[in-house]
């Protein structure tokens, strides 16, 4: 299955990309996808804290992914 991961703010700068496309085996969780990102982009580990959103909703890292999902890495927000 193929999923997209979007990055913003410090996460985007650490990874050096707005988005990555990952090919993952079926049954991979959000946590599993993040392990792939850390393996490909070791600097990502420097992001001190973040939440994840799945298809524009905040989600638990244990959630299982499916083909076409859009994951987003949400560093602490600072709007306003």
């Amino acid at each position: 299955m193929t999923i997209t991961i979007k990055f913003f703010a410090l996460g985007r700068e650490l990874v050096g990309a707005n988005a990555l496309t990952l090919d993952l085996s079926d049954g991979t969780t959000i946590e599993g996808a993040l392990a792939h990102v850390r393996a490909q982009h070791p600097t990502f580990a420097q992001l001190p804290s973040f939440l994840v959103a799945l298809n524009t909703e905040y989600a638990e890292q244990s959630t299982m992914l499916k083909n076409g999902d859009e994951l987003a890495i949400i560093p602490p927000v600072s709007g306003g």
């Binding site: 979007k6 913003f8 703010a9 410090l10 959103a53 524009t56 909703e57 987003a72 949400i74 560093p75 602490p76 927000v77 600072s78 709007g79 306003g80």
Partner: protein, 138 residues
């Protein structure tokens, strides 16, 4: 009426206020967030905002809907600027109209407080000697 917007161009406060005016309402409260020229004693030149736009719009609308229900608001508008804003510029405007004034204050404050907790928007402060992604106060 609920209207949420992310904008690359300067926010028009008057138009946003006009959008919530309602002849049934006696009260409008408006919050305007502006870019300060200093933070912790350092001179700020400008801020750069970015958003996860579809999610930011969805979260912002959901916050406004909750506020509308809790405080019986006639209309709520929440507009956030994106891109580069110079000091003194306007980053966010929230406007709420209600029949009674205490509700206007409460609903407006709820929207801006919750926006700052939950809506995926980020700002980077640009100084003379560098730049930093703002981390929220604990």
């Amino acid at each position: 009426m609920i209207a949420v917007q992310l904008s690359e161009i300067p926010l028009d406060t008057s138009a946003i206020i006009a959008s919530v005016q309602d002849e049934r309402s006696g009260a409008i409260d408006v919050f305007i967030g502006t870019v300060r020229n200093q933070t912790k004693g350092k001179t700020v030149h400008r801020l750069e905002y970015e958003a996860y736009e579809p999610m930011a719009l969805k979260e912002l609308r959901s916050i406004c809907e909750e506020a509308q229900q809790r405080w019986n608001a006639h209309a709520i508008a929440a507009h956030h600027r994106l891109g580069t804003i110079e000091t003194g510029g306007i980053a966010v405007v929230v406007a709420v109209s209600t029949p009674h004034r205490a509700d206007a204050f409460a609903a407006c404050q709820f929207v801006i407080d919750t926006l700052k907790e939950r809506v995926p928007i980020w700002k980077k402060e640009v100084f003379d000697d560098g730049e930093v992604w703002v981390t929220p106060h604990a």
